[in-house]
Symmetry: C2
Subunit: 348 residues, 2 copies
């Protein structure tokens, strides 16, 4: 059986065309998504397997994408260990009992993501059935640092001041928290793989807030441990590809390589070939068109997409994606044309 082109690229094997999927490909830019969103809260959508499965499939039915990614959220994992989460209109996620001390961290409880995120595991099973092998399904989780940052800040943050202050002032409490989150994330990804995920992505969206020395000391060891645990514990040989994606980390790609992920996701702030040179030869790369480029007239989008494909040409192991999630204002037609263009241009 031929490996699907997305999985081939993850393993740096040649493919008939460059595979393409988009972060946040199921989202507000699609009318089909908005129609469901009008009737349900965001967390209701995430926590109802039938809705999550339907939303996951929407972009697959609309565009020639090479992978589905389960519609889920990174924060319910925190609910499972004792944090109180709501989504406020226009504000994004709010954690009502943020972690501010070692006592707060010690008071967290253990949980089995198979139970606390059972809805996402079930949604994966439903999507696998619907996909019928047409495209691989990507599972995902927030990486330990990004989860820790949400739990400490109590939501999004521009500067992650409280997270850094705790990390510096209470390094043992920090490690306890990261250990606990690493255990959660590993178990969660293993459960997703057991339910049928063909690859998994770790989103470390906030790790780019750190200086490289701090990343190396306070974060990287936990990402490494997580990846080792998933590979050892998932029961699949060879284990499914693991993608590690951070934002604002162009200055520390050498450290990202040390995660030992199969694929490194690049944001848009570096030329793809420069980034690939820095992560080195033994790793696939995913990226890296600026999501806001999709607001441009189509010839401008095409020119920039072609540049990225040109920079990746001549070696297997490139998965085309944006450098971050699709923004809500993106025209659907541009998404369709871009997916088609990636295939046509790279197959030439």
């Amino acid at each position: 059986m031929t490996l699907h082109r997305f999985l081939a690229a993850c393993r740096r094997q040649p493919a008939d065309a460059t595979p393409v999927w988009f972060m946040r490909q199921a989202g507000r830019y699609m009318a089909e998504y908005r129609a469901i969103r009008e009737r349900y809260g965001f967390l209701d959508m995430v926590k109802t397997p039938e809705l999550a499965a339907e939303i996951t499939m929407q972009p697959l039915l609309a565009f020639p994408l090479d992978a589905a990614i389960i519609f889920a959220d990174i924060l319910p994992l925190l609910e499972g260990i004792g944090l109180q989460l709501t989504y406020e209109q226009g504000e994004g996620p709010v954690i009502h009992n943020p972690l501010r001390s070692s006592a707060d961290i010690a008071a967290l409880h253990d949980a089995d993501p198979r139970e606390t995120a059972a809805y996402t595991i079930q949604a994966i099973r439903l999507v696998k059935r619907e996909l019928e092998g047409r495209a691989p399904l990507i599972g995902f989780s927030g990486a330990p640092f990004t989860l820790a940052a949400y739990a400490i800040e109590g939501g999004s943050s521009r500067d992650h001041r409280l997270t850094k202050a705790l990390m510096y002032a209470e390094p043992q409490a920090w490690r306890d928290l990261m250990e606990r989150l690493t255990t959660q994330v590993s178990a969660y990804l293993i459960a997703q793989i057991e339910a049928g995920a063909d690859a998994v992505q770790l989103f470390d969206s906030w790790a780019g807030a750190l200086a490289p020395g701090d990343y190396a000391e306070y974060v990287l060891p936990f990402v490494q441990k997580c990846i080792i645990q998933v590979r050892a514990g998932c029961g699949v040989v060879p284990p499914p590809p693991i993608i590690y994606f951070g934002v604002g980390m162009s200055g520390m790609l050498g450290l990202l390589r040390q995660t030992d992920a199969d694929v490194i996701g690049l944001d848009w702030r570096i030329y793809l070939d420069d980034g690939w040179a820095q992560v080195g030869p033994g790793v696939a790369v995913q990226g890296n068109l600026d999501p806001h480029t999709l607001l441009a007239p189509w010839p401008e989008v095409r020119r920039r997409a072609a540049d990225i494909l040109d920079r990746a040409a001549g070696r297997p192991g490139h998965i085309f994606n944006l450098g971050h999630g699709i923004v809500p204002e993106t025209p659907v037609d541009t998404v369709r044309r871009l997916a088609e263009f990636v295939h046509e241009y790279s197959a030439e």
Copy 2:
């Protein structure tokens, strides 16, 4: 006459110790600053030369710093060409008639920064008198892109969506705006040098929002033009050092080098030696401690400062600074100890 160690480092000449100053060194973390701020609005402080001069001197009187930087704001330059600016409590700058079309851009008027920012020019003269040569004075301006982004977004922005959309959809209007701003910035910096500034810094705080290809096409040519104009027009031989500082640009340092600035300011998201290797041998570097590190216990601050100095050791041309501005929660005592430590450790 021996060159002051800050100016020596800017010119990559050996110095007796590594020079140190801090972005936003005159600011809310100091009680002396807060005492003035309680009585005056932010723009009042900027626009009253005596107050701006007093504030500029506060950190120089408190800490062993190697340079003063004029207390000023980057946005009044936009007022001069027709934008209406206020600072809202807790919101930061708000521009009430943001640029949203080529017609808006065409309607901007010309202005002479000598007149429209006369208060800052006068403040520079006052500070120069007070300093009596004890330390060099740095003048500064927002770089053309960052000013354009403020003018288009109407204030701060997380994603600079409107800026990019205009840049992509109306490239000629974009160039007209950047030309106009380049002229303003060049004239402003020349006026600052004529008034006595010993060096000038271009703050391109938002340029890291762009992909490198977009930076190279839509921004870099104007930075280059600005630097050429300042050097040619300032009437000083050799012209004062020019520092170019961006945030989130670790993936495009090769392009920053092409600005031909004397000094490249690095944010904290890259090891200093990695960053210096990428900007190349003929450029000095400034940076790059994470400002939030200053919230850590002193031994942690010292360890990270020593690491930066170690990474810069053995070649002249390093100016110690933070990777962004001092945050208001910073303990004054840490600022003092850090400035002292940089001198002691680097002189050893």
